[in-house]
Structure formats: C-alpha cells, structure tokens
C-alpha cells in the first residue's frame, strides 16, 4: 500500500515537473525586431525609446511599473511607502532596501554603492545625462550598509518614484562605469555597448544601429528564468516591414511599434501567424491654442508674447467652437485605428488621474456655429466669418508626418463648414521640436494661431506635466523661447493648485487636484484641445507566450517571463 502511494506520488511528480520547473534557456532563441535600431545600451546617454527598451533586457532599476502603471519591486526588496517607513513623514527621505544576494551577470554582488554611483554618474555636471530630470532634487544619498540606500531630497517628494525607477534609470555597475563619469562617457564605448547588468539577459555582441545579440544571464535571480537561451534584437527598415516579418513571414517573434495604417495592419494579421497588441499610456495628440498674437506685423521681441493677447483666440467661445467642430472619432479611425481612442483629456491615464470629461466626443457643428454667432463673428459674403472687418482666419501648424497632414486636411474642412478659414503649415519634425532659439518655426516659439503635436509624461504621476502650464513657464524672448507652456496660458488659480499638488501626498487627494487642473486647461478654458489618446501597438507571433504590453515602462519589461508556446 505504502509502496503504491509512493509510486503514484513519483508518477505525479514526474508528470508535474515540466510545468512546475520550467528551466532556464530551454526555449531556444527569441527574435525581436525594432525598426529603429538601438544605438547604445546606456540609457543615460540616450533618450530614445529604442535604446531604453533594448537596455532593459540587461540592466534593471530598483522598481519598475507594471502594465497598470503600478510600481513594483525589481532589485528592491519592497516598495518604500509611508506605511512601511520607507518614506519619511516629511516626504523628504526615501529608504530603499535591496533584495539580498543579488548578483551582477559577472558574478559580483550588487550593493548599495552601485546605486549611489548610478546617481552620481547621472548627476555629474559634465556628463550630459539624458535622464537628469529623474534625479532632480536629490540632495544627498547615503549607504549605511550594503543593502540600504537613503535618498535625501531638498523638498518634500510626494512621488519619489523617478530616480532608480522605470527603464529610464536603471542601476549601473560601479566597478564597470567608475571611469566613465563626466567627460569620460564618450571614451567608454565598450561599457556603453555592453553594460554588466542584473537583468534576464547579458550582451554577447552589440552592433550599433544594427543588431544586439544576447544570452541568458547565468546569475539571474530567478533560476528558472528566462526561458529563452538567446535573444536577438534586430534593427532597421520600417514599421511595415517589421510588422510583416512577424505577422506574415514569421521570421521574428516580436515587432515593436508597428505603427502602420490600420487597414494595412489588419491585412497582415489576416495571415494568422501573429497577434497585434495595443496598450494605452499618456500620449495625447492635441491642438494647442495660442493665447498671444503671433502676427508678423508686431515687432520681433513682442510677437507671440504676453504683451499682445490673441485678437481672435482670446475669446473662449471661439476656442470652444473650434473644438466642437471636430469629429474626434473619425480622426482616430483614419489616423490610428485600434491604436487610438478619442479623448478630451490632457491626462488620459492612469485611471485615477483621468477626469470623466467626455463632452467633446460628439461633433456639434450647429452648436459651434451658434457659439461663433454669439461671439459676434458673422458670416461674410465669401462664407468666412468676420467681426469688425477682421476675417476669422487661422494659421494651423504641425510637424511633417502623414497622419498629421491628414488630420490637418480634415480639420480644415470642418472649420471651413463653420466659417473659419485655415491656412496650413508643416514644419520638419527636427526643426519643429528642435528647440533652436534662433528658428522661427519651433513649437515653443509658436508663430501660428493653433498647432498640433503629441506629448506625454514619464511614469505615472502627472504633477510635473501639469506644472508645465504655470505662468512662469511661458516661453518668451527673455527665456530664449524655452518653456513648456507654449499656449502662454496664465491663470493664478491654476498656479495655486499646482503648489497645493506639490504638498499633497495622499493619492486620492492628488488625483482630485490633478483632475481639476486637467479640466481647467481642457474643457473649462479650451486652451488645449485634446484629440486622440494614442496607444502603443506592437505585434507578436502566436508561438510567443507571456507578452504583456506595458506603456508605463519598457515594452520588454517582462521578457524574463516570455516563453515558446508548444
């Protein structure tokens, strides 16, 4: 009897084994295609998504964000909070504890000195660190023992999950990067191309702007992961070719950012070799209204500055009418398909921060006309509205991009219907976003009446993003046209609320204030007219399991859990 039980037990164990003890490196190779090829694996030297995501297979932060935007521990033992004492009462000190017995891929132990070094590396005055903003406000970092890191901020930090959190600020190995700080960064090609990390994979060969070959990290903290022994990230080509290589030919397992026309993508998916995955973050395509007069008749230095309010758009009713005339559902369908959804919010996510603002979703042409009539703009002989002899004529600019040009044409048509004449202007993206103070075509300088582009915020907390719209961040000749408040919106009430948000720690209260701020600049004042909440769209082969698209962190955040479907 006992023997029988034992034998049954043994049989059961044997049967269970493959499921329970998945082994490292048993599933062969995973092929990933990034049509924008990674240029470096050091995210502190590059801000490109492609570089951040490629490096996230190798180097890891203390904490990451999951697909819901919730912060979770990676190298840290737990997430510091006021409840567990990790965050001090005055919100100025954060204590992180590392998981015990962590090892770098070269076998040496991970210590708090590595964490402190990473911050010093990025904050070096001559390094030109691309992620410096994540370390802003750090006064000092202490390492009382090998596993403890204490960060002191110069002022209260309700949301401390910027430094060492997310794929933008992973931990570098001190021993490897010690001589690379500051101006040494450029001489450290071997280090930048082959960082030693704690992630599921380690670098075998890095060919810049071409391909990265990786193999499973023998010292990864979970002995059963990753399931793949090798990973290759191939770069080059375009989004359509990348999507095709996964969905139609099956040469690759995962294609990043397959942003191709929605119907093309559907046609490819019909081949049945793979799936399209989408996820939504905070990227919003929006129309910005200029509150100042960009007229070329004004002298340089006064043009588009707060000295001269906009002759047409200063009237809130005109801005509202312009928004009401737009059919956001149609725009989304044409431009983004499944990878977009119409929105009226500047902060569309995370859920708790998203306002229940849906008033703009239905197009209301008659309402828009009535509003313009009310504002005193009457239809002239040529169908264009005028007031005091001035035509309702707007200059509408954006960057060169096929989808944006489609949007421009559609919106011009809708505005034409309500009696607004529109002149379209397109600027090369590198100039538009280039921030050159000498160029008249940058989006900050805003020498147009309305402009369209997309922006988002890092991480899950919208405070710094909403703080863009305070009075002091108005770009002007004095500030070399730098500043994020491109609309030149200025409301003392808004500024007051931003200060309050900075002092509030409780998430529910923060969310209430953030939603209020969002409403103030969108539906209340129509300063910013959001159009489409743009998601990420990627594709993976049916034979690749474990893919969870994450818009809050690297798309490859959970590559350790990927496996081959058999």
């Amino acid at each position: 009897m006992r023997l029988k039980t034992l034998m049954l037990g043994a049989v059961a164990t044997a049967a269970m084994a493959p499921a329970a003890f998945a082994e490292r490196g048993t599933d062969g190779q995973v092929n990933i295609i990034y049509w924008q090829a990674p240029s470096t694996l050091n995210p502190y030297l590059s801000s490109g998504t492609k570089d951040l995501e490629a490096s996230s297979l190798v180097i890891e932060p203390l904490a990451g964000f999951d697909e819901k935007g919730v912060v979770y521990p990676r190298l840290a033992a737990e997430i510091p909070s006021t409840a567990n004492g990790g965050i001090s009462e005055d919100l100025k000190t954060v204590t992180w504890k590392l998981k015990p017995d962590l090892k770098w891929s070269d076998g040496s132990p991970v210590t708090s000195a590595d964490v402190k070094f990473t911050a010093d590396y990025c904050m070096h005055p001559e390094g030109g660190c691309a992620q410096l903003a994540r370390y802003e406000g750090i006064e000092s970092i202490e390492t009382p023992d090998d596993l403890t890191v204490v960060i002191h901020f110069d002022e209260p930090r309700p949301n401390p999950f910027t430094a060492f959190s997310g794929s933008q600020s992973p931990i570098l190995q001190k021993a490897q990067f010690e001589k690379c700080a500051g101006t040494g960064a450029s001489a450290c090609t071997a280090e930048n191309f082959g960082p030693i990390g704690t992630g599921p994979f380690r670098v075998v060969e890095f060919r810049t702007n071409d391909a990265v070959t990786l193999e499973a990290n023998p010292n990864y903290r979970d002995p059963a992961k990753p399931a793949f022994a090798k990973a290759v990230i191939k770069g080059g080509g375009d989004a359509a070719a990348a999507a095709r290589s996964v969905l139609e030919t099956g040469e690759f397992d995962y294609a990043w950012n397959t942003l191709v026309p929605p119907d093309t993508l559907k046609g490819m998916a019909a081949a049945g070799k793979g799936k399209i995955v989408t996820g939504f973050g905070t990227l919003v395509e929006r129309m910005e209204m200029n509150m100042t007069d960009p007229s070329p008749d004004l002298p340089e230095g006064e043009r588009a500055t707060t000295k001269h309010p906009h002759p047409i758009l200063s009237d809130e009713r005109v801005r509202r009418a312009l928004s009401m005339a737009i059919d956001r559902t149609l725009l989304t369908e044409i431009g983004f398909g499944e990878a977009g959804r119409p929105t009226c919010n500047l902060v569309p996510a995370p859920e708790i921060f998203a306002s229940d603002n849906t008033g703009c979703l239905t197009q209301d042409v008659d309402g828009a006309k009535a509003l313009l009539d009310e504002a005193g703009w009457t239809v002239g002989g040529d169908g264009i509205r005028e007031k005091d002899g001035k035509k309702l004529h707007l200059l509408y600019q954006t960057s060169v991009n096929p989808i944006r040009q489609d949007f421009q044409a559609l919106i011009k048509q809708w505005w034409q219907d309500i009696g607004v004449s529109t002149e379209l202007k397109t600027v090369d993206a590198s100039v538009f976003f280039g921030g050159d103070a000498g160029s008249p075509d940058t989006f900050q300088r805003f020498y147009a009446d309305v402009e369209m582009y997309a922006n988002n915020f890092d991480g899950t907390d919208p405070e710094p993003y909403l703080a863009h719209y305070t009075c002091e961040k108005v770009p002007s000749p004095e500030s070399q046209w730098q500043g994020e408040n491109v609309n030149r919106y200025c409301d003392p009430e808004y500024d007051k609320l931003i200060v309050e948000l900075g002092k509030t720690a409780k998430i529910e209260e923060r969310a209430t204030i953030a939603r209020k701020l969002n409403d103030m600049i969108t539906k209340d004042s129509m300063t910013i007219v959001p159009l489409v909440d743009r998601g990420r769209v990627s594709a993976h082969a049916n034979s690749l399991g474990g893919v969870v698209l994450n818009t809050w962190d690297s798309e490859l955040w959970n590559v350790a859990d990927w496996y081959r479907v058999k």
Binding site: P125, N192, F193, G236, T249, E251, D428, A429, F433, G434
Partner: protein
C-alpha cells in the same frame, strides 16, 4: 608616370580640404538639430547639458578644426597604436558619433565587410553579366539577343531599386517564402549549412543590385564595341585573314574596354558608399544605412566622416582611371 601620379596626389590635398570645408558648412547651414529627436519629456535644461556634452557649445570653426585634427592626426595615431601596440593616441579624443557616442571609425569598420560582401559582390556579378552581354549585343546588333539585352537593361535602368526590391520581397519573401525578407547581419558562416543560409539571404539584395549595375555597364560596353567594330583596323584584321574570335576578343574588345574601364573604376567608390536604398529595403545595415541614419539624426561627425571618405575614394579612383588609360592604351603617355 610616377611624377604625374605624385603631382596629381599633391593637387588632391587642397581639393579634399576644400571639399571637407564645403561639407561641413553645408551640414552646419542645414536646418535640424542633433537633439531634435529626443522626447518632449526631457526638460530644456537637461537638453542644454546634453548639447554641451556633445561639444556643440563651441563656434563652428573650432569644431571644424577639431574635426580636421581628429581625422588627420588622432585617428591615424590610433591605428598606429592599434597595429604596433604603442600609446601615442592615449587620452586623445577620437571622432565621436553623436548618436552612439562611440568612435565613428569603429562603426564604419564594423559596417564595411557587410557592405563589401553584398554591394561588392553585386558589382562583380553585374560586371560578369554586363561584359558578355555588351559584347554579343554589339557583335550581333539588332539580333533577337540584342533586342532582349536592350529590353532587360532598359528595365534594369528604369526601375528603381526600391521598387524591384519590394517586388522581390513580396514575391519570394512573403508569398513563396524562399528567401528571408530581413537580412541577418549577425550570421556567421562556419560550415556548409550556414553558407547556404548566407547565400539565401544575399540572393535578393544581390540580384536587385546586379541587375541595376549590369544594365548600366552593358550599355557602355555595347556602345563602345559598336564604335570600334566600324574602325578601319577591324577591316584590316579581317582582310589579313584573322579569325573572328581573335578579331573581336583581342583587337576590338581591348580597345573598347578603355572607356568602360573608366566607368567601372568611377563606379567603385559607390561600392564603398553602400547602396542606401537597397540596404534599407533588405535591412542589410551597411554603410548606406549608416549614412542615411546619421543624416536623419543630424549626426554631424558621422556624416562628415563618411562623406569625406567617399570624397577621398572618388578622387583616388579618378586618378586610378586616368592611370589605367596609360596602361591600356600605349598611345597615351603622361609626362
């Protein structure tokens, strides 16, 4: 001839310096910004620091002189160190690419083999196809062979590679799945099996480029052969009873090759330049793709270095073509 070659080489130096200045000024004057692509989530102050770290804070002439020093002094020293294990270039800044923050020459060296195998091989195959076609087409002018040859070269000439490339990918890569649609640059040839894989992935890009090259050269070959076939010396050769084979392949061909050799020599720098479009279509990621990426991201040091190397190659191969004239045609003498 040696004196002539030396004089030409010396003359090339100011030409090249002038070219480098023109390239630099063009890049400088063109709109765009090396940091134009970075996300809007990066604050302006951080962007300014990044700009300084790239050395963009200095005046243009300082950056130009620095580049000249790096190209003509630091890089050669570095190679010397590399070969002899010396330490002359210790602590000197090499030409650093903005995109990758790594030495531009290292990336070029990494890309060169890829481009030479694919683009170089297609040039060679193109030549091997073009020369016989050109010879036979001319010898049997207006025959069916000539008509077909003319048709094929017109097709090859007029269809751009981004069209033929995509057609091949759709037909043989996606529908038939005979060849991979994406080139694997990390593939290593170690045995027969991996050699077959390499041949398969090279098949489509090489075909596209060979067709293009062959079309061009075969037209030159044919025209040049036709010119010579009508010469008096050909009639003389035939009159004195030489066989057709000797007349065509020895006398006519050798004389006809003179202008063709120039065309071939002048086409060689383009092999190093890589095939920008074809490399993009097939994701070969060689020098052409490197150049186009660098241009797109305003990576001035990389664009500057690559275009200047091309300039050197063009000047050099022009000289080679001139010298080859003398070798092929004894009547031409350089004094």
């Amino acid at each position: 001839m040696l004196v002539y070659a030396l004089r030409r080489l010396l003359l090339a130096v100011p030409t090249l310096l002038f070219i480098s200045l023109v390239i630099f000024l063009l890049l400088e004057a063109s709109p765009g910004d090396p940091l134009g692509d970075i996300p809007l989530t990066i604050p302006a102050e951080v962007k300014e620091k990044m700009r300084e770290a790239l050395g963009l804070g200095q005046a243009w002439y300082i950056r130009y002189l620095l580049w000249l020093k790096q190209f003509f002094w630091v890089e050669p020293l570095h190679w010397v160190d590399h070969v002899f294990g010396t330490g002359f270039s210790e602590g000197m800044q090499r030409i650093i690419s903005f995109q990758t923050r790594s030495p531009a020459f290292d990336v070029i060296a990494q890309r060169l083999p890829q481009t030479l195998t694919v683009v170089g091989l297609s040039y060679l195959i193109g030549l091997l196809i073009a020369l016989p076609i050109g010879i036979i087409s001319a010898y049997r002018q207006y025959s069916w062979f000539d008509q077909i040859g003319t048709f094929v070269s017109m097709v090859g000439f007029s269809l751009p590679t981004f069209f033929t490339g995509v057609v091949l990918i759709i037909v043989f890569g996606i529908k038939l799945q005979w060849f991979p649609s994406i080139y694997d640059t990390t593939h290593r040839v170690t045995d027969w099996g991996s050699f077959v894989v390499q041949v398969r992935q090279m098949a489509m890009p090489v075909t596209v480029l060979s067709l293009f090259n062959a079309a061009q050269i075969s037209r030159f070959m044919r025209a040049s052969m036709l010119d010579n076939l009508r010469q008096d010396y050909v009639r003389t050769a035939r009159a004195k009873g030489l066989g057709e084979r000797v007349v065509v392949l020895k006398h006519v061909l050798r004389n006809s090759l003179i202008p063709v050799v120039t065309v071939i020599a002048l086409g060689l720098p383009a092999v190093f330049g890589g095939a920008i479009i074809t490399e993009q279509v097939f994701k070969v990621n060689g020098l052409g793709q490197l150049l186009i990426l660098a241009i797109n991201s305003n990576d001035i040091p990389m664009v500057m270095t690559l275009t200047f190397i091309f300039a050197i190659l063009i000047v050099a191969f022009t000289l080679v073509a001139d010298l080859l004239y003398g070798v092929l045609d004894p009547r031409i003498r350089y004094e």
